[in-house]
Each structure stands twice: as structure tokens, then as C-alpha cells.
Amino acid sequence: MNPVETIRMAFKAIWANKVRSFLTMLGVIIGVMSVTVLMGIGQGTTSSVTDSIASMGTNMLTVNIQTRRVGFGGPSMNRNSRSSGAKGTVILKLSDVLSLKDNEYIQYVSPTVSGSLTVKAGNMNTTASVTGVLPDYASIVNTELSAGRYIMDADVTNRSAVCIVGQELATDLFGNTNVVGNTMHVDGRKFRIVGVLDEENSSLIMPFTLAQRMLESTSITTFYVSATDSTTVGRAEAAVSSFLYKKYQNDSTYTIMNQEAILETMEEMIGTLTLMLGGIAGISLLVGGIGIMNIMLVSVTERTREIGIRKAIGAKRRNILLQFLIESVVLSGMGGVMGLILGYVVMAAFEKYLGMPVSASVGVAQLALGFSMFVGVVFGLYPANKASKLKPIDALHYS
């Protein structure tokens, strides 16, 4: 028997019970739609995060130092070590960090210190995320300015009260972004704005030395290093590592992350989250499958006589099995297609009206469709088998 005929029969049977078929499909439609949308959002977020990390350049190393007392909490070997910091906190000073610049593979170095401070201009009041940096920082993270200048060496040395503001902060305080030369108060101290970032955010950048004082931070806990080019990142990392090991005499006090590692960590995190969301959506697809099985079982009972007639005029077990199985697969497959279309519509709406980064991938579409068909096969098998096993005389005399 021709498979095309079987598929035609399946469509006919589905069309004959339009409302019921649609309600049955609804489970699969919702399941596939949520899988597509959630995976799309997950992938969209991944690529937007990846892009922003990649835009900082691949030469960058991020160093974090855990501030704790070596000698109390650290390994016992430190107690007897010759290290000067054995009795107390090892303080990482600006000059220590800057000495890294002597290394031939290291081009830029900048420590950072950050926190939140209140800013005030006229009668406008808001909170800004403050970062204290060295001039090198601009080159390390590829900062672009829309106006003015960046922090300069002299600003750092003199602890000049100058700052660079993000466009959102400028608009919040002054109503426009044309603010170079304006003054404002940060935590009560008067600052002059010397530059505006080419970014829509509320960040405020000031000289490292001044920020350290204002945020009451003594030791450097974070600094960024930029290798001369992407091929020397490994050697630069080794240099930073040996420098820090000399300083702290153990390697659990600090972490050095290169961009790739950061990227990996982020991708892993978002990937796990996406998988989890997809899994939850997958459960709804499974529930849709159970709905299909339920309806197919009802349909087999209802159509017992039809099965009897078909068997009497020559249908084999295989023909009946295939007929019901294909019906179930067509139901779930159609649900899958509709769910996919709906999912794309929802994603487009999310992107347009909520500005969410979404990415509609062919892989996810294939996965969702494939899984919905698979659900149709799995949950159609039992009812179809039940139908095929009916004895022709019993089925014929069923009323």
C-alpha cells in the first residue's frame, strides 16, 4: 500500500474532526512554541554577550585578587615563608602593578576600582557606577568617546577632579549629551566633565588615584593587562602569574582570566540556563504528546467499526498500524509547524517591542520539529498497535 495514500487518509481523518484535532495539536503547538522562543532568547543573549566581550579585544587579561589575610587562612607553608606579607595583608600598590609594564609581552596595564556614588548636577540627583582607571584602560577595553578627552597621566598624578560620563548619565543630569566642560558633584566633591562615552549607560570614569580615595579602597583587587598582540597573550599571562606568585606565595589568592576563558564561562552559564528553559518547554511538549495519545485512544475506540470494515476488505495489521501511527505523527507534526511559526512571530515581537536579543536558528527549528514528530511516534504507537490488533469479526460487530 502506497504511503501517500496513508498520509492522505490521515489528513482526511484529522480534517473530519477539525476542532478536536486542533485542541489536540494545541499541546504540541504550545510546547514547540515555548521551546523555540526560549532557545531563541537564550541564543540571542549568548551572541549579544559574546559580541560585547569580543569587542573588548582578545588581548585582554582580567586579574582578580581575593583580599584575605595570608598566614591565617592560607596554607601552612606560608607561615614559614620568607614573604614579607606573611604576618598580614599583602597590599598590592599601584607601583607594583605598573612594574608589569616592563615585561616585553605586556603593552597596557590598568588597575580599576569601582563602586556606586551619588552624583548631583543642579537639582538633578542620581546614582552612577563609578570606575577609577588609568589612561591605558581606554586602550585595553577599546573605549570610544563621542566628545572630549579621556583620563590623562597628569590627572592620575594630580588626582584631578575630572570625569568622563556615559550618555545616559549625561542625559539624566543635564538633559543632553553636550556636557563637556560642565561641572557636577560626585559624593559632594566638584568634578569637571572632560569627555562623554560613546555608550548608552550610566557609568562615570575618573582617575584611579582619586577613585581609590573616594571609594576608600587601599589595595588593588582588580586590574587589566593587555598583551602586545593576540599571539603573546599566553606569555603575558605567564608573566602576570609569576609576578603574583612571587607576591603572594600561593596561587589560590588570585585568578587570571583571559577573554577566551571569560567567554567560555559566560557561554557555559547561558548555555546551562538555555538548556534548562528548553527542558521545561520540552516537558510541555511531552504533555502535548500525552494529549495526542489520549485522543488517539478515543479515536481507536470510536472507529472500531471502521477498522473492522477495513480489515474485512483486505487491510493487514500493518496497514491499520500505519494509518493510526501516521495520523498521530501528522497531528504532532502539524502542531510542530504551527508552533514553530507562532514561535517566530513571538520572537519577532519580543525583538521589536521589548528590544530583546533573539536569534532564530535552523538547529532549534529542526530540533523542535524532530522532537514533536518523535513525540507523535512514541505516543501514537500504543493506540495504533491497539487498533491493528482488533479482530475483524469483533470490530465489525462493534456498535
Partner: protein, 229 residues
Amino acid sequence: MIIMQGIRKEYRMGENVVAALDGVDIHIKPHEFVSVIGPSGSGKSTLMNIIGCLDTADEGIYRFDGLDITDYTEDELATIRGRKIGFVFQQFNLLPKLTAQENVELPLIYQGMSAGKRHKRSREVLDRVGLLDRMHHKPTELSGGPQQRVAIARALAGNPSLILADEPTGNLDSKTGADVMRLFHELHEAGNTIVLITHDAQIAAQTPRAIHIHDGRVLEPMDESEVVI
């Protein structure tokens, strides 16, 4: 065409075992038009199920069209039903969602016939029963007589060796019943082998030969000279 020897079929009713057929011997030659007559409960429906390969006997030998089908599997029986037997039921048993033509084509689909050949064949047989002009009607749009004629067209479609009719006039008024009987006679004259199951002596009287069945046994002994293997 049909040779049955010592066919026995039992049903279990709780503790009791009831023999619906108790050693039935039947011989039917090709091109015969035979009726099987008996009151309800005589075992004629069981006999019809076995003749039609819808069920198998517990004991005895059944040869159909030269094939010993006693030990055939369910799927092999399905093939025999599809290719060699055309059923006509009292309840017509047409599929309500399909048109007359689609109903007639159904056995041909299971035979694997191509769409083009099927359409041609279904037109031929619908023409044969005089319903060519109503081939796109659904069964619910036809009255009893035409419905039964669609069913007969379906039985004829596969060019079967045997037409097996179970009370074909049972649900029809006497006039349309007579029409259907006339159609059977025409088919018989055209060379078809027909077995007609009935409880109605008047219907049975219209066939050249009648096999009487009572309490699971054939009443009239067979004339051995009629046997053709």
C-alpha cells in the same frame, strides 16, 4: 471453489462450551449461486465468518479456491479477503466520511493499485450497479438501496472469486430488496460465484441451491457427485 470438511467452531459461554458449528461439510462449485439458510442461532453467521476468512475454524479442513487456508496467518487471511472475496453486509458497512467512489476504491488501495487504475475500475463497477451519476455522494446522502449497491460495487471492485453476502436485503424494503436480488442474479449470470446468507426462505428460494443449516449442522446431505476440487 469452497470445500469444507468437518468444520467445527466452539464458543465458551462461562462454564459451558457451545458448538456453533458441529462438523459442517460444504462443497460449492465455481459460478454457483448458493444460499445458506437457517434460523438465528443456527450457526450461519459463524459459518459466514469462516467462509469469508474473517475467523478460523477450531477443527476441520477448509479449502478455498484451491488453497488450504486452515493454517493461514491473520495477514495471509487479510490478503485472501482483499483479493478473492467481496463482502456485502446487511448494514452495508460503508465508511460514512468517504464518497461512494472512495468507498469502492478502498479494497483496491489495500491491493496497492495505482490511483489511475483505481479510478477507472471504480467507475466501471459503479456503472455496473447503475450509480455512476452518484459516485461523489457520501453514503449518508444515499438511501438504503443505493447504499447497498455501492457496497456491491465495492465487493466487485477487486474482481473477487467469491461474493459473500450476509443478509443483503435485511435492511431494505421489499422493492429495493428485489432490485438487489435482481442485481445478484445478473452477476451470477455474468459468471460470479455468490454465497448468500439469509434466514428468509423466500430469498433462499430464489437461488439455484440452498444449504440448510440448523444447530450447527447441515441438514441436507451433500450430493457427492457435485464435488469439484
